[in-house]
């Protein structure tokens, strides 16, 4: 997979592109994995307040080694710091923020996203697996703008953008936009619409890796992400 025209965007580039969609003054909840990188790429001059469902608003980056506090962690159970203006609150209040529509954006990973906006990101439904949902269902049901960042296909090459999800849903009809290795996909009333494409990736390659009809925007443009090497350097 060393051929850049085949691999598309790096994880950092996907995070960079998603970060451009976050407006100044937004309240944002970032999922575990690639979404966590988004915080590194929010454009200068925009102030974003991060929410973590275990009960903090206004947390900042990881602390210096040795400064970790087991009671100052994010939902991924990683140590964080506090920014001025932070607040602590209990779980019922924290999920009131989520369920009540007070969080502007959540950016999550996904196993599958469907052309109707359905998302599956908590269970493969496999027998013998220990089911675990955490706050995933609350986030996608409650947050105003649900955005997904994901590799375009699984490690095995299976499509993750589907006509309909085959895995158990996290919620029906909630995803607005998906950022993948291959570009930016809006979820519209008539299905996926490719808005931006990764440099050097042909549309036909995207189509082949997508298990749903794919419309292409008249205004299709290339994702203007910085070079992977450069973007990666920020992480």
């Amino acid at each position: 997979m060393s051929d850049k025209t085949r691999t598309g965007l790096s994880r950092a580039q996907m995070a960079w592109r998603a970060a451009q969609d976050i407006p100044d003054g937004a309240y944002v909840n970032l999922g575990i994995g690639i979404p966590e990188l988004v915080a590194d790429y929010v454009p200068a001059g925009r102030e974003v307040v991060y929410h973590t469902e275990n009960g903090i608003l206004g947390f900042g980056p990881a602390p210096e080694p040795g400064q970790e506090d087991p009671d100052l962690i994010n939902a991924g159970k990683k140590p964080v710091t506090l920014l001025p203006g932070a607040a602590f609150f209990h779980h019922a209040d924290s999920f009131a923020m989520i369920r009540g529509g007070h969080i502007d954006y959540c950016i999550l990973g996904a196993m599958q996203v469907a052309a109707n906006g359905d998302i599956a990101n908590w269970s493969t439904g496999a027998a013998g697996a220990i089911p675990a949902v955490g706050g995933a269902m609350d986030l996608v049901a409650g947050v105003r703008n649900v955005l997904v960042i994901t590799e375009h296909t699984t490690r095995e090459g299976e499509p993750k953008l589907m006509e309909r999800c085959s895995y158990p849903l996290t919620a029906p009809g909630v995803v607005k936009r998906v950022f993948t290795t291959f570009g930016v996909f809006d979820v519209t009333a008539s299905g996926f619409l490719l808005q931006e494409i990764a440099p050097g990736v042909p549309v036909e390659q995207v189509r082949a890796a997508t298990a749903a009809p794919l419309a292409v925007a008249d205004s299709l443009k290339e994702v203007a992400a910085p070079q992977p090497e450069k973007a990666a350097a920020h992480v």
Partner: protein, 236 residues
């Protein structure tokens, strides 16, 4: 930069539209955002639905808003008091609508609105006239009333300290409906006694996190309703 501070009361209230649903904090005069209410009179919006525990006293604050004919409907738990004349008079004339809600149900409906809960069940009011026309349901052998959430366009509350993120603390029992009303409004507006720099309120002591607050305006020496009434003030 996130900065929810606005320079003055008119700026805080500029976009309140006719027919808006407005939550107004306070239990009697305690915690009542009197400068914001007077600002709303000056601003001129009409046909409001106001949700507040009481209906005001004398001819200042909420009573003055009602007297000015701006309120089409009151949603409250206790619309009369020792010194309330304005609401009773209009109500008897049929010029203002009233939805009477038990106080705890009112608080819980507002909190539910802020928490994304569209409806819940409560034992309060079951078997009384206030449950008439409402769905009831038995759980574990007891009858409960289904109550719907309240969401509003604006909330006006009085707080103590506020920062640019909208984080708030309150003063004693003046806290009353403030925190839940901030949760349930599209735009919550808090008059605070003092602006403080971000970080001055200990994150452990924030009562209302800024995410629930849209605008903060500083009113360093808020008037007390009872003092205005004693002085014979009639607003405007």
């Amino acid at each position: 930069m996130m900065d929810k501070r606005v320079p003055d009361v008119p700026a805080a209230l500029a976009d309140v539209q006719d027919g808006a649903m407005v939550l107004i904090g306070g239990f009697g005069e305690s915690g009542s955002p009197i400068e914001l209410i007077h600002g709303l009179i000056d601003q001129g919006a009409r046909g409001l639905t106001v949700v507040s525990n009481n209906t005001g006293n004398g001819e200042v604050g909420l009573a003055a808003l009602i007297k000015a004919g701006r309120v089409a409907k009151m949603v409250c738990s206790y619309p009369r008091s020792s010194n309330s004349k304005v609401f009773p008079e209009l109500y008897r004339k049929g010029e203002i609508e009233l939805e009477l809600v038990p106080q705890g149900t009112l608080a819980e409906r507002i909190r539910a609105g802020g928490a994304g809960v569209p409806a819940f069940y409560t034992p309060t009011g079951a078997g009384t006239v206030l449950a008439e026309g409402k769905e009831t349901r038995d759980f574990d052998g007891r009858t409960y009333v289904m109550e719907r959430a309240i969401r509003a366009d604006f909330a006006l509350v009085r707080a103590e300290l506020g920062d640019r993120f909208g984080n708030l603390t309150f003063n004693k029992a003046g806290r009353n409906f403030g925190p839940v009303m901030c949760m349930a409004a599209k735009t919550a507006i808090a008059q605070v006694r003092r602006f403080v720099p971000a970080g001055e309120i200990d994150p452990e002591h924030v009562v209302t996190p800024g995410i629930f607050v849209g605008r903060v305006v500083e009113v360093p020496e808020p008037a007390q309703e009872s003092a205005l009434i004693e002085q014979g003030v009639s607003y405007p």
